[in-house]
């Protein structure tokens, strides 16, 4: 199962989907578009502490992290 992990006030909200199921992939892509459209950054976790920022939906990514827009403090 693949997962979208969205950072939020609860810590994170995890949405899992089957990357072999077209309907679930479509839902996951919709979520990706909504979140990135709202200013979230998406990053695929590569393991060993590394991440790669992605601009378009990757259905093969095992775990994608989303964090909200950055602002100065």
């Amino acid at each position: 199962m693949a997962a979208h992990v969205v950072m939020d006030r609860s810590g994170d909200t995890r949405h899992t989907f089957d990357s072999n199921d077209r309907a679930e992939i479509a839902l996951a892509e919709k979520r990706f578009m909504e979140l990135t459209g709202a200013g979230f950054t998406a990053a695929v976790r590569l393991g060993a502490g590394e991440c790669r920022v992605i601009k378009s939906f990757d259905p093969t990514a095992e775990e994608t992290l989303f964090y909200p827009r950055l602002v100065g403090g």
């Binding site: 950072m7 939020d8 502490g49 991440c51 950055l70």
Partner: protein, 140 residues
């Protein structure tokens, strides 16, 4: 006899495992705990060790290869360090939405390691002093 003994004195590894389970359950039940677990999962082994021992971890900026130190905290907790490990300018930036500390630190790590210039563009710069980076300072 050994059966009674094992019931009364379960082996130490089992006790440790049960204790770890309780701690994990406690951590997972709060936003801060959940965010810190996620952060731990996303750090490299070296960064995890630094955070445990020193209260901060270091990352390399994706564009300038500058070394940054991310201290435990949700604001005024990032600073550049020079080649000798001395603090240079501080950068204050965070994701919007009052996220728990672990999430803030993870977002800062990903931003600096993958799109440093974007993080720099929004960050407010400050001159760090000892207070900002004391391990015992109030987090936030």
């Amino acid at each position: 006899m050994f059966g009674v003994r094992s019931v009364l004195w379960p082996d130490l590894s089992r006790v440790r495992a049960i204790r770890a389970l309780f701690i994990r359950h406690g951590a997972e039940s709060t936003p801060e705990g959940r965010s810190l677990l996620l952060l731990q999962k996303c750090l490299s082994p070296l960064q995890r060790e630094q955070l445990g021992k020193k209260g901060y971890f270091e990352v390399l900026g994706s564009d300038t290869k500058t070394r940054f130190r991310i201290h435990a905290g949700a604001s005024v907790n990032v600073c550049e360090v020079d080649e000798r490990g001395r603090r240079q300018d501080g950068l204050c930036f965070m994701p919007i939405g009052a996220l728990p500390i672990g999430d803030v630190m993870l977002a800062q790590k990903i931003a600096l390691e993958t799109c440093e210039s974007e993080a720099r563009a929004v960050a407010r710069r400050f001159k760090p002093n000892g207070f900002y980076f004391r391990q015992t300072r109030p987090l936030g």
